[in-house]
Subunit: 352 residues, 2 copies
């Protein structure tokens, strides 16, 4: 029968951010936040109790060491040979960035730009990926995110045997098999803009490395989610040029506005436009190397950069999406979204 | 990469309440809410996934059927005989209500009234409990809540063997043994006012029945938590009268203000004073019978009434408190507490 004294206070979004980080991230990590690290596959019960239930990320080593993919896939010739008769979907952009707020030409303002999707024989797709460069205005990334690694017609049947179909301890913890398994094949020119997924995510890096920048769901307001008109890159194989076309009929897409790594000349402007992000608690940065797996809890905002490996220049990953539980955490998140805090929080920040 | 369209809205505490109930309580229960019912001991993994992690209550049958207490304890003569040489702590009030907002005499306003604690030989304590009546101004309830059933000197050693020391599937789910095990011995004259505990609670009814009235943590504002000066009942064995004395030095106790079952003459006044409670979603009422166990998740507000059994007139229960996880749910709850919503919500209610 205890009810700790707790005088009602003004809404303090900063207290929420701080308390969550103190409770959930390893100790002494508020100024230099990191995630827990597990050095062997956890038991389902332990993982459910300490990570999934708490919506707490971690990095897991020695859990996918037995995947044949780890030794095979860094050779582009292995992949081209194994998938010589497959066709796959590949996403093209001029900048390496898709699904992000992007300037329309001629002062048209910002739009939400989807990539140009192209279906190609795998060897051609891979050549495009390997040779893709921002400075040449063409970057290719196979990242279909539609269960592409497993589904009929995804094109990856011949290499499915190189990784496990599921992560057994995760399936047991969740009480279900993965809802989707996706493969990501790119090079260091591609990045993925801040967003969140309604899935529990195990993200296994096979070649190269992925650099995740993480923001917890309760720091929603730091993402400055705004609505952008949907647009699509259209690529002309004849001219090699992209055109950015607004969708018709118009459709608004709510999306994170913050670029966590702006160019030096944009930084001051970004700090003024997104003070909760740039003056708030430090984002959590995690580098996931080949052979490691990140548990990325549902609803966490993540931005991803990558480096290709030394051998073939490729960054390749397979991720397992498990259905999340829509429970009290989800209801609280939706309530948080409905609260306007920018004004007050900015004042609090400037008073710090 | 999905981010469902969600236009920012005004803070809507009602949406949070409704969404939580839709997600967490069994379907079609919004107007007549009930809790899930398990008919056998669950597996640790299932219970962690479906109940503890989701902060979701349930009623469990056929899980404590093997407790010898179920057949033994409804006989006061068994208890008196087994504990004939023990002394135990018993809590006395004139009304059957302790730890609740209570009127001070002579217009002194409301205080938070603790019961008069008395240490008695068990047979004397039991006689006081069995004979206690509100209309005679003396109700006794053994409800020490300090691990009294297990701890040295609690007085219950001789009957510890009649129940299990822990609930094995819960201990495995939590990864820990109970932090406290308490025994509750009373009759139908005692009740427990709305409050919450920072524990995961398994509440096993041995004799009689307990009628729980539950409000989820996210409905915090419906409890009208206010500060009351701490006071204590002082009982005179000579006169048989109680005096209610304010603590010195003064101490404020934040406590739930709502009486969910006011007398008919008080009802209209209560509805005006606590509209979020009386006009909000229906509280969840669960009757736990002898042999059944309630999983009462951490931080849920609960009010408890009871009926003694037919044989000895006693209501007896044993509850197991497991340390809760202080995670994102707890951080969100604290944030919610800091928000003033009464004004707006009352307007929303009256607009319904």
């Amino acid at each position: 029968m205890d009810d700790k004294p707790s005088t009602p206070r003004k809404p303090r979004i900063h207290s929420l951010w701080q308390e969550f980080r103190e409770l959930t991230l390893p100790s002494s990590s508020y100024s230099s936040p990191a995630v827990d690290r597990l050095h062997s596959p956890p038991s389902p019960l332990h993982f459910l109790r300490r990570f999934i239930s708490q919506n707490k990320p971690c990095l897991i080593t020695n859990s996918i060491s037995h995947f044949p993919a780890l030794s095979l896939w860094s050779s582009p010739s292995y992949l081209s040979s194994a998938l010589s008769s497959s066709s796959v979907s590949v996403q093209l952009t001029p900048t390496g960035l898709a699904d992000s707020p992007t300037l329309l030409p001629d002062g048209g303002g910002l739009c939400f730009a989807s990539p140009h999707a192209l279906r190609l024989p795998f060897p051609d797709a891979l050549e495009l990926i390997v040779s893709g460069r921002r400075d040449r205005g063409l970057v290719a990334y196979a990242q279909a995110q539609d269960d592409c690694f497993r589904k009929d017609g995804g094109g990856f049947d011949a290499i499915r045997i190189d990784v496990d179909d599921e992560i057994p301890w995760m399936s047991e913890a969740m009480g279900s098999f993965p809802d989707a398994v996706n493969i990501w094949i790119g090079n260091g020119e591609s990045a993925t803009w801040f967003h969140k997924d309604h899935y529990e995510n195990l993200y296994a890096v096979i070649c190269g490395e992925k650099r995740f920048t993480l923001i917890p769901p309760c720091e929603f307001h730091r993402m400055y989610v705004r609505e952008y008109p949907a647009a699509e890159y259209v690529y002309s194989e004849d001219t090699g040029d992209f055109e950015l076309r607004l969708e018709e009929p118009k459709r608004q897409v709510p999306w994170c506005s913050v670029d966590p790594y702006p160019s030096p000349e944009d930084l001051e402007r970004m700090k003024r436009e997104f003070p909760l992000y740039f003056n708030g608690p430090k984002p959590i940065e995690v580098t996931v190397k080949a052979g490691e797996m990140l548990y990325l809890p549902s609803m966490w905002f993540h931005h991803v950069q990558q480096n290709g490996d030394e051998r073939g220049g490729l960054a390749v990953a397979v991720n397992y999406w498990y259905d999340m539980q829509f429970d009290i955490k989800y209801a609280y998140f939706n309530f948080l979204q409905s609260i306007q805090v920018e004004q007050e929080s900015e004042e609090l920040l400037s008073a710090d």
